[in-house]
Subunit: 202 residues, 2 copies
């Protein structure tokens, strides 16, 4: 039987991670998210925290990596590290997808695993609902942020995610044409979304 | 109990109408699509075919109707007719939504009924899958069209839908932020989509 591979792109604060975890639970299949960074750390002997910083940083090159075959890599050390992290990540995702049915959150998995025909979901929400979700899970320091500052922070994380995705895939992040399903979590209770999506894989 | 109003925007050839019909059937609620044009014809004493031509024509004004309160209507007769059709349509949609739970396809219903908090779905598909769907339902003349010509025709209908929607709503057609759910029908069988979405309204 063909393997089920579900990839999830998500806006910051939209509940994409919660959705992914609960979907994997409901379908009783593997779930990969932070595990990927941990695995990269093991293989590259870089610290997890450092890897996280690199993959969350805006790429330095002005053009997507996918443009041009004669693309010449600069010797910028951070850029080289970012690329070696991306390569390690691609290998790890391939291994995970080969192993068993799974849900993978983020990490350009929809693009990296495209030959395996993943089911590509994008999770998003209205800003009001994202603010509320972020407030609920915020640490004491973040709780003191004004709505305006929190909005800016959310937008900034999403801009970085978009840049990262576009740099490595040459595709536009969150553009519906790159996904099979785009879900707005602002109004539908999470329980119902999970049930409905799990129902697509009888 | 709160009324269920489901609005469906759709790309040409994506199966949006079939989805709407089958969803309404599965949920045993009313379905409105071409009925709206028939009703407008009754009330405005214009011919259905003429109304269809008007609503499928690209709006003449260069700015969305929603921009500016001091917008001054031109005396262009087709434009005036288009506006009176839009007004009749708005009234009819309001009445339909008041009457019972329903599924409404197209006609800017998501925007017109926004105060009633409709569940807004957008149905789309890859071009390959839209071409296939169009071929299957084509009349003998259309069947002779090359893929290139059929693609052009599909793109042209969608451009008109986008212009129409943008003109009357000031919003961007197909932009995920205006919808609760965007569904790509290229890979999920229609039966499963209908079941999953109906499941969101237990």
């Amino acid at each position: 039987m063909k393997k089920i591979i579900i990839t999830i792109g998500r806006e910051f604060g939209s509940g994409g991670r919660e959705f992914g975890q609960r979907l994997a639970e409901a379908m009783q299949i593997a779930y990969y998210d932070r595990e990927i960074i941990t695995e990269i750390a093991k293989r590259t002997s870089m610290a997890e925290r450092y890897i996280r910083q690199i993959v969350e940083r805006r790429p330095i090159h002005p053009f997507p990596l996918t443009i041009g075959q004669t693309f010449c890599l600069s010797a910028h050390p951070v850029q080289e590290q970012a690329l070696s992290i991306y390569r390690a990540q691609s290998r790890i995702l391939e291994e995970m997808a080969r192993k068993s049915d799974c849900v993978i959150v983020g990490r350009c998995a929809d693009y990296i695993l495209q030959d395996r025909n993943p089911f590509r979901i994008f999770i998003y929400a209205d800003m009001k609902s994202k603010l509320e979700r972020c407030r609920n899970r915020a640490n004491p320091k973040e709780k003191q942020l004004s709505d305006k500052d929190l909005t800016r922070q959310i937008q900034s994380v999403d801009r970085h995610r978009a840049d990262y995705y576009e740099f490595y895939t040459g595709q536009s992040w969150g553009n519906r044409l790159n996904y099979d399903l785009c879900l707005n979590t602002s109004r539908i209770p999470m329980d119902e979304i999970v049930l409905a999506v799990a129902g697509l894989f009888p």
